[in-house]
Amino acid sequence: MSSLIRIQTVSILLILVALFVPVWWSTTQVHRAVLPTDQIRALAAAEAKNVFHTRVAVRFVSGKGQPKAVAESLQTHLNNLFGGASFHFAVRADASTEETQSTSGLYQLRIDCGVKNIQGEGSVKLFEDRVVSLQTPVECADTESIVAQAVAVVGGLFLDERADFARISGSSSHNNDDIRKVKFAPEYQLIFNLMNADPVNLLVSWDIQAAIKDYFQNFVDAVEKLYDFKIKSQTKYFTSLPIDPEVINAGKDGEMVYCLRPHHLPHFINSAEWSFGGSVVSTAPPLNFVVYVPPHAQSPLYIMGHDHGFLKTNSFLIPQWGGISIVNPPKMAPAVAIHENGTTLAIRNVPPKWTLSSSDLSDPMHIFIYQMREILGVKTVGLGSTEQLLPGFQFNYESSSVGITKWELDRLARLTTIQNIRNAVNTLNSLITLIESMEDMILGSTEHLLSS
């Protein structure tokens, strides 16, 4: 072959390669939409700057004193104390006769100056609906010491929360409280289950609707703006335990008492036979509360604590799932039912019936409310740090009639917000990391998502 022909052949081949390789490259490229990666990465840094704007209204009960000066000074001191992290306070002064409504994020501090209690010191009382009252022996004109005490009170209420936020936003270590809490969802299915282990010898029924209305409905209404609850009930029969309780000869007359030790409790729920699935139609996560009535052969059934004493409440909580309360049945005689069968009377055996009325259910219901608080992650709002700063003061807390105070509700809302932000940022970041690691994956068009 002459070299001219060779040169021609090779050059034509090279020209073809140079023309068609870019065409092949561009047509076989994986379609990847553009993602706002930088913005997402910047979210994590911006998280630390999340600040709750909290308002405090200061009021002097007796009308003496200088509320405006106290308010300004209190605001300066509080913002110095928190240093702009997590909380920013805006303090205003209210006239003594004005009644302020309790709204979320607005807290009232009532100062009663010049009052001494028996020991000669002051007292602090935490009311249910976002009011804290400070009764101090200091004179009303002494603005500085009043402000110092007020800072101790108001700051102490929010310091725990700041520590919580720092823990959540920081490392990913979990303590027991985090594991106990169920993942946040705007809607939950609450299912109240009555487990009747031996209906042949005792048929149990309950007036659950009245019990929910009497005890639980107020709690549900109180947390209404955070969660929606769909409440249902069901009764399951022939539910026997997969474990055998221990028999102890305790009590008078050496009667047999059955007990469950702590290591039995994880196996209490017979998940193969007892179906706690929740609804097939809805995607809301289910929370189950169980009232278990043991059979006569295994009653009375108690739960033993770690200290070898029987638990007073006879209940336990399963983290992220729900709670169980054991109610022991009374001994009842077999019953008969008589009915007319034409002209004769026919007698047949029926199981004796035991109905749990609303008042019988009051103990389990109160336990369920407490367990509900644990599962939702409600933390008590206390004045622990204040107690150290104001020695000698008396501290009183008003408890709530519905199961959750407004302070706790606000704290729960803030905690949930921070946690959801953290989860969202984590999820987005890990998604971006995943996408960047898989370079061959097709990313569809995101236009309709970015515009929303």
Binding site: M1, D198, K232, V280, V281, A337, N349
Partner: protein, 554 residues
């Protein structure tokens, strides 16, 4: 039946349950025919109150269902006299009345969500019900309690769906008295805990034995759900579950006779009555002979004239078993076993080959007076109907002479929805009056479509099953109720392509390309040089080289 039950409850002296409880009731009916076959019909009825959690109640409420019926059937040898719920065709049949303005989704969206939810609840592949095989019948399911202006009806059937224990287990979990058996008496001795695959601790459901039920000639498991609302917020859901099993003691035993007992048929005893039942649980036994038999077992039944059956009542916490022994226990396999229903329907395919065919539907009316019936046919889209070939012929039932129709009998209404390929099936609803003592034959022709290569099922030459035709018999007078008959299921073989062709094409083209490429590549790349004769030394096997004189040498 419900009123009788209510009267019995009212006459009781016992503690009554509160209004918000759910109630339940169950009955077992064992009916033996002269041929020896025993049909066992387990009937369970429950009513679920407003706030109670029950899977079917959730489904009914979530999708706005007024009424729903779902049945899983296997076998065609159903005895229509022995089964009170009627014989169902093989496979799955589902129909539902759904409210038109429930939530924001349309009826079609909710229909597909319903089939998927039921598929999950019963572990069955009901998700194969798509708009491609769903129909909206207009005049077949005219139920009196559902307002058809407020609700829409959807119907679908899957004739090829198989039922097994996997479906029976979640079905029996919906019964309140049903959990796995776990005898409390042996609680101290853990090793002795007996274990059953499914079943319940008490009630007639404790007889469930998967080996016996799925060995039967015919078994059908059905669920019917209906919601009754007294006001907008107060609604109760009534659930009826029926299991019909046709067992054959003649086939099962070595003696080949008609004697049977519950232990023989099911392998178990009834573990007492379910404590949740307010009314006593009865076991009814209907026998083909009026005498010449005796009952085995500790308890003897009482004959009830009204129901024409012997009645046992179950006691609480007492094991129950019974049996029947005949003095002459040879089965009677004569004509008496055959069905003597007044109206019967048979359907079969006509024609030959894979290109076209015909369907012939024969409806016989043994009654002396004329009856109005509606025939519903839902045929898949690949059966291309020619409606102009629809013909009706009417014969007299015994003399076979052709009757000419006159008077009111001539009135016929035909509602036809033509199929759109791969989108919807063809639906025919034919309302006609059958003259007394006649056989009416409907025939029509169709072409078989050539469907896409990927649409064929795994065993393509078996063909496709077509759902049963439903014959709705309208009541002749006020006291009667309308009832439904299901016809046979047809197996239609479509023309199949040669499934090995893609392989053949690939193989041949690759071979050709390889041969071509190899040859052309060799020609282009290799430089052919002739060999100098002087360099070639002819070996003994090189027969193609001519002997040449090399430098004059030979």
């Amino acid at each position: 039946m419900r009123r009788l039950v209510a009267i019995i409850i009212a006459a009781w002296v016992s503690i009554s349950a509160s209004a918000a409880q759910s109630t339940q009731h169950e009955t077992l009916h064992l009916h033996q025919r002269p041929s020896g076959r025993v049909t066992a019909h387990f009937a369970f009825a429950q009513s679920v109150a407003q706030s109670q959690a029950h899977a079917l109640d959730d489904i009914a409420r979530g999708f706005g269902i007024d009424e729903m019926a779902l049945s899983f059937t296997q076998g065609t040898r159903c005895d229509s006299i022995a089964t009170k719920v009627g014989c169902r065709p093989p496979g799955v049949v589902l129909w539902a009345w759904m409210r038109n303005n429930h939530s924001l989704s349309s009826v079609d969206t909710r229909w597909s969500a319903l089939t998927n939810a039921l598929a999950g609840t019963f572990c069955a592949s009901l998700n194969f019900i798509t708009p491609e095989n769903s129909a909206e019948p207009q005049s077949s399911f005219t139920h009196s309690s559902v307002n058809s202006s407020l609700s829409s009806l959807r119907y679908a059937s899957l004739p090829r769906e198989i039922t097994c224990t996997e479906n029976l287990t979640p079905w029996s979990k919906l019964l309140p008295c049903s959990t796995k058996v776990n005898h409390l008496a042996h609680i101290k001795d853990r090793k002795m805990k007996p274990y059953c695959i499914l079943g319940s601790k008490a009630g007639i459901a404790s007889l469930f034995n998967a080996y016996a039920i799925y060995d039967a000639d015919y078994h059908s498991m059905s669920v019917e759900v209906s919601r009754k609302c007294t006001s907008d917020t107060e609604c109760t859901t009534e659930i009826r579950q029926d299991l019909v099993v046709a067992l054959d003691p003649v086939r099962k035993g070595y003696q080949r006779n008609m004697d049977w007992s519950l232990q023989f048929l099911f392998g178990k005893e009834v573990a007492g009555s379910c404590p949740l039942n307010e009314i006593e649980t009865n076991i009814l036994v209907t026998l083909p002979k009026a005498e010449g038999f005796e009952f085995e077992g500790k308890v003897k039944p009482v004959y009830n004239d009204e129901k024409n059956a012997w009645v046992y009542s179950l006691e609480l916490a007492k094991q129950f078993s019974m049996g029947v022994k005949y003095s002459d226990s040879k089965p009677d396999l004569s004509e008496k076993s055959k069905s003597t229903e007044l109206i019967q329907i048979h359907r079969h395919l006509t024609g030959y080959g894979r290109e076209r065919g015909g369907i012939k539907i024969r409806i016989s009316n043994r009654d002396t007076k004329p009856r109005t019936v509606t025939l519903l046919e839902v045929l898949p889209w690949f059966i291309k109907l020619y409606m102009h070939t629809l013909q009706r012929t009417t014969y007299h039932i015994t003399s076979q002479e052709v009757l000419s129709l006159s008077g009111e009998v001539v009135n016929q209404t035909l509602k036809y929805q033509p199929a759109i390929p791969r989108i919807r099936p063809s639906v025919i609803e034919l309302t006609a009056t059958l003259p007394g003592e006649s056989i009416t034959v409907f025939t029509f022709q169709f072409d078989r479509a050539f469907i896409k290569y990927t649409e064929h099922p795994p065993d393509a030459n078996r063909g496709f099953d077509t759902g049963a035709a439903i014959l709705t018999v309208h009541p002749a007078s006020r006291t009667e109720k309308e009832y439904r008959l299901f016809s046979d299921v047809l197996l239609i073989a479509l023309p199949t392509p040669d499934f090995s062709m893609p392989y053949n094409v690939i193989t041949m083209s690759c071979t050709i390309v390889a041969l071509y490429f190899g040859t052309v590549f060799n020609l282009i790349v290799k430089k052919l040089e002739g060999l100098d004769d002087s360099q070639l030394k002819k070996k003994w096997w090189m027969f193609w080289v001519k002997e040449r004189s090399v430098l004059g040498k030979k």
